[in-house]
Symmetry: C2
Subunit: 353 residues, 2 copies
Amino acid sequence: MQQYELAVLPGDGIGNEVMPEALRVLDVVGAKYGVRFGYRHFDWSCQTYRSTGRMMPADGLDRLRDHDAILLGAVGWPGVPDHLSLWGLLLPIRREFDQYVNLRPVRLLPGVTPPVRDKRPGDIDFWVVRENTEGEYSQLGGRQGEGTPNEMVLQTAAFTRRGTDRIMRYAFELARKLGKPHVTSATKSNGIYYSMPYWDERFAAIAAEYPDVTVDQDHIDILCARFVLSPERFDVVVASNLFGDILSDLGPGVTGTIGVAPSGNINPERTYPSTFEPVHGSAPDIAGRGIANPIGQIWSAAMMLDHLGLTEAGADVVRAIEHVLADTTAPRTPDLGGKATTEDLGKAVAAAL
Amino acid sequence: MQQYELAVLPGDGIGNEVMPEALRVLDVVGAKYGVRFGYRHFDWSCQTYRSTGRMMPADGLDRLRDHDAILLGAVGWPGVPDHLSLWGLLLPIRREFDQYVNLRPVRLLPGVTPPVRDKRPGDIDFWVVRENTEGEYSQLGGRQGEGTPNEMVLQTAAFTRRGTDRIMRYAFELARKLGKPHVTSATKSNGIYYSMPYWDERFAAIAAEYPDVTVDQDHIDILCARFVLSPERFDVVVASNLFGDILSDLGPGVTGTIGVAPSGNINPERTYPSTFEPVHGSAPDIAGRGIANPIGQIWSAAMMLDHLGLTEAGADVVRAIEHVLADTTAPRTPDLGGKATTEDLGKAVAAAL
Ligand SMILES: CC(C)[C@H](C(=O)O)[C@@H](O)C(=O)O
Ligand SMILES: CC(C)[C@H](C(=O)O)[C@@H](O)C(=O)O
């Protein structure tokens, strides 16, 4: 029996509550498809930071390296500055493991009432392909004149040809694979003087390699408005690190699925493990009460299955999620308007398999 | 009779069609309130660029300097790269005239059906206060290794203490003036390592000067989602140049008012003229047909009146706009679902005064 070794990092807050439900579902779907998952747990979190001054041990990345994939819950907790917790754990994993694709679906789901009117499941169904290793998220920069009126902070974004081309090619390949040959580029070349005109230049160059794929591009300001006004026009949206971050939260905002949206941080070459994590955070406001919605974590596990080549199993889990959401008699956590617990909902998805 | 000298720059595309309607309304409201407006027209545009290689003459800014305010239509046209047209006209005006506040209302208007459900006029009514002279919009940066596989582009954002503090103080003062003492800061300090933690630090420092004002902050990704999910929670949102750009298009996207939203580029010290322009662009798709909605331009003129101290006149124009929009028998341009012309709608607003 094929066995996959997974690194499991629940992280902070509700990460610890939703992760067991994803593992529950993995066990069930594994049994169904004749594969086994081994889990190695890592308790790295903001608590680790408070006791050791680090989010993970010095050899942390080495300890993750030899896994088939990483399942992550959520990172961040009040009291530890976000940029320290994220740059101490989540972002180094994305970068060191060259997980240069951050892939997130925007999909209107049955049983979820979106905040926008007149849209039905099927109307909104696209992917945001976000660059995940360079761009605006950078530690290039610094401060001068600290504490004086002349104080000034510089922050440099870096766009390499290699980094730009590979994320765009991934987007074009995905559009082809989905049978929706249409890619939209998120830009801001009218305001951001060097990097975004370069982004456009590379988009045009890569688009020329894919003559069968239709392209368009929108400045990020109007693109955000279009996510609200005409989300049905999108199939694959390719964006820089920051723009992709914005769009992949806004998209699930528009479909009402922020609490359940998944993401994959993917190293397409499989030189390193990829990380799968829900879009939601550690949710200090509800943590510890066992009422967090586990679907984002479970759906992330489904994306992992797909990445591992277990395509049928992954699709099966997504179907189970959709089935439970559409079933008005199924358990619902408070965010979905019900009173069910995290475990109730996890068990319901497992049962639907 | 008090006379104001205005610089009028219709710019490109529909800028030329909506501007006359704003002037029409200004003439009427001027007569009503006993003030006069003198207009000096400047035809600087992408056409100027094509014939002269510049968006405006070398002494362009000097020729604008001695006006009480600038009314601008829209800048940008296919064939002239956006970063050249914008950095050749719009952005130098904002910067050289130290118009460090970009102020834009997000308001649900009567007669406009928003894309979000269950919201009524009054529910959504807030201001985005955007930094307008520094930050992510910068010409600091460059390219190395052009044309090689090692090609790399750097783009540096600059945040000064002076620039950050003054935009935040403006936001807090505005919140007080509106009688809605609540300011939300747009940040991304979990991902953007130097500039955004600095932004948060200054926000905390300035907030301490305004103990009567409630504050909160959201990362830009979740903030965008909240603009869709719970826009009623906002009163004044303060943001960097880029984040403010995004939010002040997304906001009118959510209220369905992108085609009619105004903006002020304000130099609060009145050392230089301020610029008032609609949020919409030059709209090449409908330009030349006389069907553009002039309300964004007219509403921008209303913001100008307020800035010039003609507060009652400004409020009167806004009321006239609301009256015409709410009146189902009034003319409607195609974007509002009708068949009226730009001129019909402009005349209707003028008549409502
Ligand atoms: C045209 C562009 C440079 C401009 C900006 O980004 O500032 C526009 O989007 C705006 O918001 O006024
Ligand atoms: C927590 C934060 C650094 C992270 C990001 O911006 O990448 C999160 O918003 C995400 O999208 O995964």
